[in-house]
Symmetry: none
Subunit: 204 residues, 4 copies
């Protein structure tokens, strides 16, 4: 666990995680070797084991970091959002405005791969489900409930259902466009998804 007391160590750790992400993005978790990460991060094989006790753990910590960053980024964007509607619109906007770079595609694949891998290891699965429910779903739930309370959203919608629909669509679209390279279609699809969902939840 990062000790902020030692700034140097923390920066080293970040740098290792970043290198790992880069490598996993390019070759996938299994095909990435510790040597790849070492080469990319310009450190030594031994050092990496001072920070993470195994490749598995490095993977897990990386993904935890990424989730944290995702929400930090979202919250950053939410600074000027008050209403639930504003938040929803801003969220869609964030995704809609993504440019489909090779780097982005790599990132998505790492996430998706992790999601699938996690399903195969009981301990990982629990971590993942917990994260999904406590963070992703919960996050969206709160927005929905806020919207329901304020009268922006229909009273009769089930927050949980909408939340899970939201993330499923997001992931479905990202999954597709992590392979398909069609920027324009991606944007239209997101626009359409936004309309469908907003239409479904807004009180007229």
């Amino acid at each position: 666990m990062p000790k902020v007391s030692d700034d140097y160590k923390e920066r080293k750790r970040e740098s290792l995680l970043e290198s790992a992400l880069k490598c996993f993005g390019e070759k996938g978790f299994h095909s990435t070797t510790m040597d790849d990460i070492v080469a990319y991060s310009k450190t030594s094989k031994g050092l990496i084991y001072n920070y993470f006790k195994s490749k598995e753990e490095l993977y897990l910590e990386l993904m935890q970091e990424r989730t944290k960053l995702t929400f930090e980024r979202i919250n950053e964007h939410f600074k000027n959002c008050e209403t639930a509607t504003e938040k929803m619109r801003e969220l869609f906007k964030m995704y809609r405005e993504i440019t489909l770079t090779e780097e982005w595609r790599h990132l998505i694949r790492v996430h998706m791969e992790f999601w699938i891998n996690s399903a195969r290891h009981e301990n990982l699965q629990n971590i993942m489900l917990d994260r999904y429910k406590k963070q992703y779903l919960q996050f969206m739930n709160e927005i929905i409930e806020q919207g329901k309370k304020s009268g922006e959203f229909k009273k009769e919608i089930q927050a949980e259902l909408v939340s899970s629909i939201f993330w499923a669509y997001i992931d479905g679209i990202c999954l597709h466009y992590s392979v398909v390279e069609e920027d324009e279609l991606y944007k239209q699809q997101f626009k359409q998804t936004e309309e469908m969902i907003m239409n479904y939840i807004l009180t007229k």
Copy 2:
């Protein structure tokens, strides 16, 4: 004599593919060893190489087989469907009625994993994209166009956009429920997705 009927060989091949699917489903492609497949299929290590020249090729042929089966199954269900609306409804019904067994989850993971892996190997990516566009998108396109022609669906909708939305949502939902074990939510989510999409395309 071991000069054996084509039928016998075909059945052997199927059995190997099935074993591979089982193993890939349980442990993922990379973590599955040829020994796993051999053990599962109760043959010998050498034999598998009489049928497939590498683990890679086995993987590819397996996925090709699965795609073929998917469409065979869909077409089977479509036997009594005339109108585009019937077809769309039937398609949703097929997915909606799936029971989320462990086996199904394995299957989905294999598909998703393949989709992601394929993105990392140029030759596989071409095969995948081709399959996606020529089969999945094309298949849906035809239904949409039929519906537009017959007046069932709105004239102004873009077939291609709807098709890609359709498959993205399907994949997104399947991806989620290949990890999340909540049958009820899955069904509701599918119902809702059906409404949204049908609402979007139906005239009136």
Copy 3:
């Protein structure tokens, strides 16, 4: 051992040996698989084991056959040779007139490879040395002795020494030109070797 009684079997055996020779020539003994030979001879894997009980044995029998053929060929050429000098000259002529085809190079390599391999297996080594001494050396010895007796060759030369020099030079040159593709140099070298050796043994 070939039973001439069954002509068919004998021809089959020859065909297998020939195929083996072809394959060994192209890829070398170790890199040639039984499948290669089977493919080349258009028979079946099982059949080959009816004729030779192992790859080793096939190899050995092939080389035995080749030695036999070599001497048959030499004797064929010797039909009209009476004197020792004529025989020596004819022998040199045979080698000198060889055209350095790819096929010839293959053949030489097989022989050389066998010679080296044999040194590494006691039983083979005995067979090889026996063959070398009883056939190659003995053959040359007899010519030399004939020449000495008839006064063609110097009385003081040691037949055994000349014989072993003769075959060493032959093998050395063949070895080189099984790799080096220079027809002209080969011929000159043989001419020169002939002169040196004849000069050494002829009585003026």
Copy 4:
């Protein structure tokens, strides 16, 4: 620290090459396994791949090393030789005085085997031919030309022809005595070869 001196690594490399040579000598290239080499060199299976990226490459580098050593040894012997005649005599002496140990026989077989194997792989063949022509032939050519210039050797002899004859005879004799265990005959044969060749080139 295992960050180790270049010298250490070089010695390790030499030791691996030496082990490989020993094993190739005993069993031949194809029959030698990496495990054999590892066992002989008392290291671990993985380590060898830190130094050579494949068995093939190890082989090639070994042979390159050996050629280098051969010429270093020859040049060592040449320190006190001025005239072309002295050099030729010294060269013959070197070969003549070799004692036909089992080790020497192994060494020769490795060289001969490599020569033959190389003929079967285009890239190796080019390396071999280049080495043969640029080093072996060239080396001898220079001596001959020196001798012609100084008047020791006949003006009319073709340096290239003599050179290739020289090496062919050397190789032929070595090849034979890598199998035939007759020290005495070997020496006589070399003596005789020396006389023949010197007789051929010396200006009386």
